[in-house]
Symmetry: C2
Subunit: 388 residues, 2 copies
Amino acid sequence: MNETIKKDTSGVGLVEKQFFTFAGPPHEMKLDSGARLGPITIAYETYGRLNAEKTNAVLVCHALSGDAHAAGYHREDDPRPGWWDFMIGPGRGIDTNRYFVICSNILGSCMGSTGPCTYRPDGSKPYGLSFPFVTIGDMVKAQKALMDHLGIQKLVSVIGGSIGGMQVLEWCIQFPEMTASAIPIATTTRHSALSIAFNETARQSIMADPNWNSGDYYGGAKPDAGLAVARMIGHITYLSDESLRQKFGRRLQNREDFSFQFDADFQVENYLRYQGKKFVDRFDANSFLYITKAADYFDLNRKYGDGSLVRAFAFAKARFLVISFTSDWLYPTFQSRDITQALKKNGLDVSFCEIKADCGHDAFLLPLNRQSDLIKGFLNGVFTETQT
Amino acid sequence: MNETIKKDTSGVGLVEKQFFTFAGPPHEMKLDSGARLGPITIAYETYGRLNAEKTNAVLVCHALSGDAHAAGYHREDDPRPGWWDFMIGPGRGIDTNRYFVICSNILGSCMGSTGPCTYRPDGSKPYGLSFPFVTIGDMVKAQKALMDHLGIQKLVSVIGGSIGGMQVLEWCIQFPEMTASAIPIATTTRHSALSIAFNETARQSIMADPNWNSGDYYGGAKPDAGLAVARMIGHITYLSDESLRQKFGRRLQNREDFSFQFDADFQVENYLRYQGKKFVDRFDANSFLYITKAADYFDLNRKYGDGSLVRAFAFAKARFLVISFTSDWLYPTFQSRDITQALKKNGLDVSFCEIKADCGHDAFLLPLNRQSDLIKGFLNGVFTETQT
């Protein structure tokens, strides 16, 4: 299995998940809901080297089901690298020869950071639904604590797609002095009714599973059936009509004719069932509930702008590269245009690029040269400027 | 409560559901799957009067969750009329002063026609999953038997939207001599991978409900939770991003601020939960499985054209009015254009109209004057021609 790494000596190589714990009592973090949470552990990884002046850090924010493992391999026999490996590495879009890249698991997730599947401070049992609600803003606050811990006072850039892009926008508003630049990708400033509708349907699917048991299922049977359907719903929204047509069309799965049974006759059915099943092995149903709700609550206009997106960005200082994809119908391009316009009305330096891609919302996770080149060029300009 | 009827004296008034039973042993109907089914009961309603020559009949085909009750009221205190009441009645789009209108419940449904919730011929228990698979073609064959029973040899028109539109297209191919004209609305000739994906996810939601019990739940607890989520998934696809924005946006449900709970904070969440709950009171989960699978199997190119839609329509003779809606993303306009082109290449008389509407796929169920006027004008032309 050394083959894997040998094949890919151009990347960041072996990496390790690290942990940072803070907000221990009585210094619990105050959340947007008013509740307090602590201690908080944040799982994170870093790639490249922090320079002596600590001025070369780039923060990468992940989406709903992502984690801190953005690049490289955990073990020599890992079959696959981190989720954005094609983007992060020596000479890649986010060049680790130059930048110190940090990716941390979001608060509320189940990939090493504190979330509903974490044990309560009293050690009695996992939080379950007693875990307080966290917002995208809270996730960013926890990331800020990690930056403080690492001694980083200013980030060359904060970069992320989808819910990661929401975090990017929060960073620019909450901590304008710390963000030299920002790259929000395939994202929005407020979840549309359509996005909320899909998320709510997915949540109802989990909550309809008797094994969910009001979130108290740790140690027993998990709500796998409900979570699998939730993932199938989500997965459809990450693709596009066109990509589904190209990838599957009406092709049948290992058969010449219809089964006239409730089997997965079509490849697309088989694919979705597989995605659902695979997901339940690695993700926690309660984390799915918490993070989708945080995304639904996300509304910069409401939180910072009193209904105006222009006002919401009034204190932002970053240089921006806004990226959208033509076939993304979850956060369509017009939403990225809205971001761009609001930033420009604040006199900020903004580049906007809509990338032609058939593959829907998930395009940002796919190795598109156009995206990597854009990010590389943009970071280069920002870095040159900030180091002088 | 007489108010209701008083308010609406312009419609068809009180109507009655009727039943027709055929295909009793040993004359069971041979289905597309090769299985045999019988006896078969078809529930239907009629509006207007059949003329002496029996040349003024119009068949209306309903969609997934519809039924035979297309117009009028069953009782004086009915709060609501049939599902297409604004379209069918004296002077309306389908004018009952002139036409004899028939609407029958599709085979496999649960609204009076034979389906999985019907008792087996031996009276032992409802069919459940022992009910054979039915296709859109089988549904049409059962409708044809009803026409024979009513003594109707030629239809002025066959009209329907969505899955009803699929039946319309099957009619024109299976029984070209019987269809003087056809109005397929918001429909397709083959389910796309996206449509299959949504249907399969909805089916998985039902089948994940422990109460579903492999379809054997009659007399016990029903898979309401799974069916409600399935309906929510379907319902989203019937609307549009724009209509959801207009109808709900991010408005909160009876509250000023977020609950920071898993309540229905947003109106759109509340609306979808309500739609899900309402649906389980009137629809059978197994029927949902069978009819969505029939829609997924629907593929005229494959069944009749050996991969060519032009060939599929080679024997059609009807005059066509093809209607689509701008915001329908389930069966987008390009699919109606494909139908139109294939018909034209067969030298058929085809009118095509894309109606501007923000309300998505379900637009055909809404009282749009443009749709009613188009249908009225088209039928008028056909009727005048066929009677001379």
